[in-house]
């Protein structure tokens, strides 16, 4: 695979709403992502720390966020594709945690 860019993102399921940063990513970086159906690329809009999540599509406020095929929470604000998805904009659905 000489000459190919290294993967810097990972998606467990191809339809997931999130990808993981495999290295610390800087805002504006074009990221090559491993998915079960082969590589895809997208630009991250914010700095993403190692192993943190970024959105792989635009998510409206109140959207159930899917990772590994299962909902891991709901967005508490609109999250654009490539933005950091974490406790500031992703909340538990199960126990009403604020």
């Amino acid at each position: 695979m000489a000459g190919e860019p290294e993967y810097a993102g990972f998606m467990l399921h191809t339809d997931d709403d999130i990808a993981l940063a495999l290295v610390p990513l800087e805002a504006g970086a074009l990221v090559r992502i491993v998915t079960p159906d082969g590589p895809r690329e997208l630009e991250v809009k914010e700095d993403i720390p190692l192993y943190h999540k970024f959105a792989t599509r635009d998510l409206a406020e109140g959207t159930a966020v899917i990772k590994g095929g299962e909902a891991i929470g709901v967005t508490s604000a609109p999250v654009g594709c490539g933005m950091h998805l974490h406790i500031q904009n992703l909340k538990s659905m199960r126990y009403g945690v604020s």
Binding site: L50, K67, G68, S92
Partner: protein, 388 residues
Amino acid sequence: MTEEYRFDAYRRPDGSVGLRNDLLILSLSGLTTPIARRVASALPQAKVITVPYTGGIIGEDAVLRRRMLSGFATHPNVGAVLVISCNPIEGNLYRDVVEASGRPAAKLVLDDYGHDGLRLTDAAIRAGARLLRELSAMRRSPAALSDLCIGVECGRSDTSSGVASNPLVGRIADAVVAGGGRVMGGETMEWFGAEHLLEKRAATPAVAERLREAVDRRMQRAEAAGIDLIGSNPGPANIAMGLSTLEEKSLGAVMKTGTSPVYGVLQHGEAPAGPGLWLMDQPFYSTESLSGFVAAGAHMVLFTTGPGNSFVSLLAPTVKLSANAVACRELTEQIDFDASGILTGEMTFDDASKALLQHMMGVASGTSTFGEILGEGDETISRNGETL
């Protein structure tokens, strides 16, 4: 894909197979702990389990202690047992448990040596040496996945665990179940937040009910102790590593159990009644959790970690795996299986599953894990109440 995975194991008279042929030095009394350790230092091939609790253990603790000690004494990887006790009642009881399983046993009781620990030490080393020689004459024969029972565990997880090593272990769990073997998952508190996913897989409504009850009971105990599990999960360390919600953390953990139906909920240390996937209602802490699987007869443990975790089971070879590339690079004498290629696109989950199953067959047939080589293992018995 499961029929090609075979291994060589010791056939026991009770029908089980052993991946190891250990002499277990089982000390039943806090009083005999130092003696058992002294005996073990003279017999480096033997493994030693000591329990600090003996007198005044009542109620559910007494039941649990007996279940755990019996499970250790007749563990499939144990070929013979040196029982060391302070009193004849317990010494005879566990010697009989071992002998009923068809394994050779020797019993040494402090009462028989006038409570002279040195004389008992001398006799125990001699008896242990004879048992070790008897064990060394046994040979392995072919076995299949249907003979195998594994436990799945995680400790010091990070985001890579939830998306790579735990789903990988889930695939192995599915393969072992498909091959007719047994798989145990546990760590009840990790079901909290993923109950809805596990309940969907319950083989019967009664199993779903028991899963719910198991989580609720521990939640109530935490609440009674003033601990806010909902508000404190995920914790600050989880959040720093990128885990955002309880669901995300729990989902990552329960992926270790794969996708098979859950046949039943076991008590801590209780053996599964048949093949398939079982969940054990038990403490989450690794030292306790692993011992629950071991007392229930787990031959082997698949133990995922993120940044690393040196602890292993004493009796069940524990395959430590990580998908954290830094841990795999740095912890070269701890991580038995490097799953980091899943995240870098070098390995698909299918490739990794085949490689890990092959690795497990090697370990099952006698290849040592780093935890075994370095002696990182222990077994323990959990407590619920106070000694009288």
